[in-house]
């Protein structure tokens, strides 16, 4: 199959993720969408790597997975801390910082 289709799929995933981050209100769903954005980049990397016969892309993708996991851990930790303080888990409600 042509590499182009993988790139099209990765672009769609990236757009879905970016759109979700902007539209959705729950921080949990936003974290999911961020993962989608990172993984769309992984897909693009792997498609290019396969096409070029170059293994660097696979190493890069592994590194990205580790980093993505760290990011989610911190994100979930913050969400738990907010939940414990009874802060509404809705990014539109959290507007203490503005001006």
């Amino acid at each position: 199959m042509d590499t182009t289709w993988y790139l099209v799929l990765s672009a769609l995933l990236f757009a879905t993720g970016a759109g979700g981050v902007l539209i959705r209100r729950s921080p949990l769903v936003i974290l999911l969408c961020l993962e989608l954005m990172l993984n769309s980049a992984n897909l693009a990397l792997l498609a290019f790597g396969r096409n070029l016969g170059n293994a660097d892309a696979q190493i890069f993708a592994m590194v990205v997975m580790v980093v993505a996991a760290c990011e989610v851990v911190v994100g979930l930790g913050l969400i738990v801390a907010m939940y414990r303080r009874r802060i509404p888990l809705d990014v539109d409600e959290n507007r203490g910082l503005r001006g």
Partner: protein
């Protein structure tokens, strides 16, 4: 016989010292009782001191590639590394009485801070797309935690989550761009290999063009260049003030270093094609930042917007891509560190002394009551505005000089106009310090401050009361350390404004490093 790779331990030594320090500080923090702030701070300062010493030693050595070309130790990475380490060392005494560090634990806070410093040092050294991404995340993730570390304050948690979301969007965008550059350059991840892979004409290959645009956007998120700056004032205001101080100067320094390295090494041959785009961003940033700061009553928010404007000035030094430009960029970063740290430290002290938080009323009447705090804040504001006789003026002078030499005179004009607008909000702070009477802290006035309102609405928790008790104590005891640091940075701001040659010698190391990059 197994062939072992040749490891240059000497050039890696600053990184090794930092990693060792992180492990030791974390273990000491875990073993000892929770309140061991002295030991933890001393060990952290020792680590930073050792790292700085090793960096100064390496500054005299020739440039070397490290870890199979993933990192490069040269003048640019070492000067930026020293700025970052100095900023971290300044923040440690400021955290001694910080309620956020008190609540999260000093061992943990210091470990995270050192982790972020490690990420910044690596980011300044990165010359490969993979090491760039890893270092950027190593810098960011501890900062997300630190921003949210004051768990009993809603605003702190909110700023942590906000920074996490926006920062991750930036990282994901950068990563997506990296993937396209990798594909477009024929499988290159090293900056020099990318330069060979994509040649001189960017318009040839839409893949590369998309990649560069996405990478630029990702980096713009990190250094808060408009229109990717909206998170900056929010996060600066919500985060614990010592963390804001560190974040404001150190993140900017490290991200600008890799910004410069990427654009000059990997995209150097096609400079005339990306320069206009960055020039437009710089102009927008200068205007948006300075106009945004005008109506701010929160000092941290105002400094956030001012940081956006300063990023615009610095981007000018970067985009001209000349040796003079990089010299000016590093000089300005060093000057910016000095003036910003002093300002944030004064805000942090006033936050603990008054219930007014970081509102501008908290510094009213400071000139009469606390001249030792009023003068440093005044000097910082004047230096940030770029008045002659301060390091900020010399920095702007060099930036404009570099812009004019590269035929970007109109950007020099933007810097001057931006500085004129900025006087309006910097002078407002100075007027509050010297010309207004101190606010009488009657309950009515205290209630008007957003900080106090939020505090009153919250149920009194154990940690909250402990923090309040600390706030109540008048400055004394250990505060002389903070005061000393503030006075040293303010004095340096003035001294380098009158005799800039030591700082010029320092920044020239960075310019020398890019001679080899430009030679490609």
């Amino acid at each position: 016989m197994i062939d072992t790779p040749d490891i240059d331990y000497a050039a890696l030594s600053p990184v090794i010292a930092l990693v060792t320090g992180i492990v030791v500080v974390l273990l000491v923090g875990l073993i000892g009782p929770r309140g061991r702030r002295g030991l933890s701070s001393a060990l952290t300062l020792l680590t930073l001191g050792t790292t700085a010493g090793l960096m100064i030693w390496q500054l005299g050595e020739p440039d070397t590639d490290l870890v199979a070309g993933a990192l490069r130790s040269d003048g640019l990475s070492l000067t930026i590394g020293l700025i970052v380490v100095a900023a971290a060392a300044f923040v440690i005494p400021l955290q001694l009485r910080d309620p956020a560090a008190e609540e999260a634990g000093f061992g943990e806070t210091h470990t995270l801070l050192l982790g972020s410093v490690l990420g910044m040092v690596l980011l300044a050294e990165a010359q490969n797309l993979i090491s760039l991404f890893v270092a950027l995340e190593l810098l960011s993730i501890p900062l997300y935690v630190l921003c949210g570390s004051h768990r009993s304050r809603t605003q702190s948690l909110e700023s942590g989550l906000k920074y996490l979301i926006v920062g991750s969007i930036g990282s994901a965008t950068l990563l997506y761009g990296s993937a396209f550059i990798y594909g477009g350059s024929g499988g290159a991840t090293d900056f020099t290999a990318i330069a060979e892979g994509i040649g001189t004409d960017l318009a040839d290959d839409p893949l590369v063009l998309i990649g560069i645009a996405f990478v630029a956007v990702g980096l713009a998120f990190k250094v808060s260049i408009a229109p990717f700056h909206q998170w900056t004032p929010d996060v600066y205001q919500g985060a614990p003030t010592p963390i804001t101080a560190f974040m404001a100067v150190a993140t900017k320094a490290a991200a600008f270093a890799v910004f410069a390295r990427f654009f000059i090494t990997a995209l150097g041959p096609s400079a005339d094609q990306w320069q206009p785009a960055l020039a437009a961003l710089a102009a927008i940033t200068i205007i948006v930042g300075n106009v945004g700061a005008l109506g701010q009553d929160s000092l941290k928010r105002m400094l956030g917007y001012s940081g956006v404007a300063q990023a615009g000035y610095m981007l000018t030094g970067l985009l001209v891509g000349s040796i003079a430009g990089i010299d000016a960029l590093v000089f300005y970063l060093a000057a910016y560190t000095l003036m910003n740290l002093a300002a944030f430290a004064v805000i942090a002290i006033r936050e603990r002394e008054t219930p007014l938080g970081d509102d501008i009323t908290a510094v009213q009447g400071l000139g009469r009551d606390r001249p030792e705090l009023a003068w440093p804040l005044t000097i910082s504001m004047l230096a940030l505005a770029g008045l002659p006789g301060t390091a900020g003026f010399m920095g702007k002078l060099f930036l404009i000089e570099a812009a004019v030499a590269a035929e970007y005179t109109w950007l020099g004009v933007f810097i001057v106009v931006g500085s004129m607008i900025s006087l309006a909000y910097y002078l407002r702070v100075i007027a509050a310090i010297w010309m207004r009477p101190a606010p009488r802290l009657a309950p009515a006035i205290a209630g008007a401050a957003p900080e106090a309102e939020a505090g009153a609405a919250e149920p009194p928790s154990r940690t909250g009361r402990a923090g309040r008790a600390l706030d109540g104590t008048p400055s004394g005891g250990r505060c002389w350390l903070v005061l000393g640091a503030i006075i040293v940075t303010s004095a340096a701001t003035i001294v380098f404004g009158i005799v800039p040659s030591p700082l010029i010698d320092f920044s020239i190391h960075a310019g020398e490093a890019i001679i080899s990059m430009l030679g490609v």
